[in-house]
């Protein structure tokens, strides 16, 4: 089986500074993959470049199709979707309009089903459907951003720091929903600083440091890796503390 998303030997530069150096990754169908790493490791840069917002050097393919000539809108139509770090909602429009625009590229009949699906994933959005997006709380805005992306019936949903700035109870809710997406046939590429939560729901993980992947493998193995535990999970193994 070929991978849904495959990125090989990708370099991304801001002027002369290379933010991402020679990164390769794959996401298969029905898989949740996470990229964890500290602030400034290049995770957001990588997602934005895969979406087509930033230019990159290297090969990217989605559903066995080369993405080099596709712009953002083409990638959306092909089934790739990004929930960016800043969410980029239509703040002066209401929840329902935001969701409806999420289905801009899909047929009307599909959109009606998508509404039901999104509202059952996020019942809170149904309650707030006439409220302006800009007046929602942070957690609700994140739900709306994810809901808007799901309205387009994507094959792969890329999430950039969905837990950023949210209360722990809301984060738990969001992560539970991400786990449910797999059952709905949506693959997820999740970029997170909250490594513990991310590793719990992910199948596989990549650890990013200073623009490179330093470690990859099954999420279980990564979670039990000593170095990862020390750097990202906030506790140290007894053996290491003696060093």
């Amino acid at each position: 089986m070929s991978a849904l998303l495959s990125v090989s030997d990708v370099h991304i530069a801001y002027g002369k500074v290379e933010a991402v150096r020679g990164v390769s990754l794959e996401v298969n169908e029905n898989e949740i993959v996470t990229i964890i790493g500290a602030n400034g490791a290049g995770k957001t840069t990588l997602l934005n470049a895969v979406m087509g917002i930033l230019p990159l050097k290297g090969r990217t393919a989605f559903a066995s199709r080369d993405m080099a000539t596709l712009d953002i809108e083409d990638r959306v139509a092909a089934g790739l979707s990004l929930v960016p770090e800043h969410r980029e909602l239509f703040a002066t429009m209401n929840v329902e309009d935001n969701l409806q625009l999420g289905a801009f590229r899909v047929p009307k009949a599909t959109a009606a089903n998508s509404f039901e699906r999104v509202y059952s994933l996020f019942p809170r959005l149904r309650e707030r459907r006439k409220q302006l997006a800009g007046t929602l709380s942070g957690g609700e805005q994140q739900m709306l951003a994810m809901g808007r992306a799901l309205m387009g019936a994507p094959k792969l949903l890329m999430l950039d720091e969905p837990s950023l700035g949210l209360a722990p109870i809301v984060v738990a809710d969001i992560f539970r929903t991400i786990g449910e997406l797999r059952a709905a046939g949506v693959s997820v590429l999740l970029v997170e600083q909250n490594a513990q939560a991310a590793l719990q729901i992910a199948d596989r993980a990549y650890v990013m440091e200073l623009g490179e992947f330093v470690l990859s493998g099954a999420a279980r193995d990564i979670a039990s890796n000593q170095r990862v535990a020390a750097s990202y999970l906030g506790f140290q193994h007894e053996g290491e503390s003696a060093v």
Binding site: I72, V76, A77, L82, E88, F90, M93, Q100, F104, G152
Partner: protein, 346 residues
């Protein structure tokens, strides 16, 4: 003060104000979607009006050829910018929009133009020509720099205005033109007389305001245009082509401009450069509306029209001075009422 004179002035002011309202709405529409302050709006007015007036005399206006020329340039740009990812569908679309459409309009104009052509056909031809020019103007002058600041877009806008005005002199000559009235019906109510022309002005203005409101509030395309204005990146992330949004906005603005021109050219003589001043008054209304509010813009436009009518009666030398001075207190009030909004950083 004489009540009859006052009523006449009020009627005159409202008729002019309705035209300014149409232009102000178009300015708000274009700014909201593309961040372009559309100075050449006035040229759409003169091009529409004078093309119609020339067609009414049986001549083919030069604007028809301009549309074809601009289409060719747009075609070149479309191919150049897509050179890395050319595919058959894209080329077919470019040929259809950039070449077939303006050439068809031009040929149609040559085929139909004549002294006996019905008014409705002339109006349709003038609208098609100006719509094509508006669409290509965005494609050529603004789409390549759509990501730049409002200031850069404004400078390009002034450039377009000057270029189009110069071309207007070539096409229409230095003498003014008048066109035939849309209808010769007239109603009398007390001392006031409503001509069919002024009724058409009211009807179309109200019609456009309602249509724009429905379009932006309820249709998916309208919402997509609004979304482009609210958050450009967000719009692209749901698959809305922001370039297409810009083209639709310019198409609508040029149509509205041309309709305004066709509505006033039977009432007043228009010269190749008259549009600028008319457009500026629409601009005042749009500024009073904060470049965002359609209803406020429409009300402000009526106010501008009425102030103009009264000042042309009581202090005709200072007519324009008074109208344009309106903008000062408005800007002061607005700056006090609303904190400065930082420009979006994309």
């Amino acid at each position: 003060m004489n009540t009859t004179i006052m009523l006449f002035l009020l009627q005159d002011g409202i008729t002019n104000g309705a035209i300014y309202a149409l232009l102000g709405l178009a300015l708000v529409l274009v700014f909201a979607v593309t961040r372009v302050i559309l100075i050449p709006q006035g040229e759409f007015v003169t091009y529409g009006a004078l093309s119609y007036a020339m067609l009414a005399t049986g001549q083919v206006p030069g604007t028809a050829k301009l549309a074809v020329a601009m289409g060719l340039v747009a075609f070149g740009l479309d191919l150049f910018f897509a050179r890395k990812s050319l595919h058959a569908r894209l080329i077919a679309r470019a040929v259809a929009v950039d070449i077939v459409f303006p050439v068809a309009v031009c040929l149609l104009t040559y085929a139909l133009a004549g002294p006996k052509t019905p008014i409705a056909v002339n109006i349709a031809l003038a609208l098609l020509i100006v719509a094509a020019i508006g669409l290509f103007l965005y494609r050529i002058a603004f789409q390549p720099i759509a990501h730049t600041s409002v200031l850069v877009l404004l400078i390009a806008s002034v450039g377009c205005h000057l270029a189009l005005q110069g071309l207007g002199l070539v096409f229409f000559g230095a003498e003014g033109l008048r066109g035939p009235a849309l209808s010769n019906v007239a109603l009398t109510a007390g001392a006031l007389r409503f001509t069919g022309q002024s009724l058409a002005v009211y009807g179309l203005t109200i019609g456009f305001i309602v249509a724009l409101w429905l379009f932006f509030g309820y249709s998916l395309t309208g919402k997509a245009l609004r979304a482009t204005a609210v958050n450009r990146l967000g719009a692209r992330l749901v698959g809305i082509r922001t370039t297409l949004s810009g083209q639709i906005a310019f198409l609508l603005a040029s149509l509205i401009g041309a309709i305004s021109g066709i509505l006033i050219v039977p009432i007043t003589t228009l010269y190749y450069d008259t549009g600028f001043l008319i457009g500026l008054k629409g601009f005042i209304a749009a500024i009073i509306g904060g470049l965002v509010s359609y209803p406020l813009t429409a009300i402000a436009a009526i106010l501008v029209g009425v102030v103009e009518a009264f000042s042309s009666f009581y202090a005709s030398n200072f007519k324009e001075v008074i109208v344009f001075t309106l903008i000062l207190p408005v800007l002061v009030l607005r700056s006090l009422a609303a904190p400065a909004v930082e420009e979006e950083k994309d």
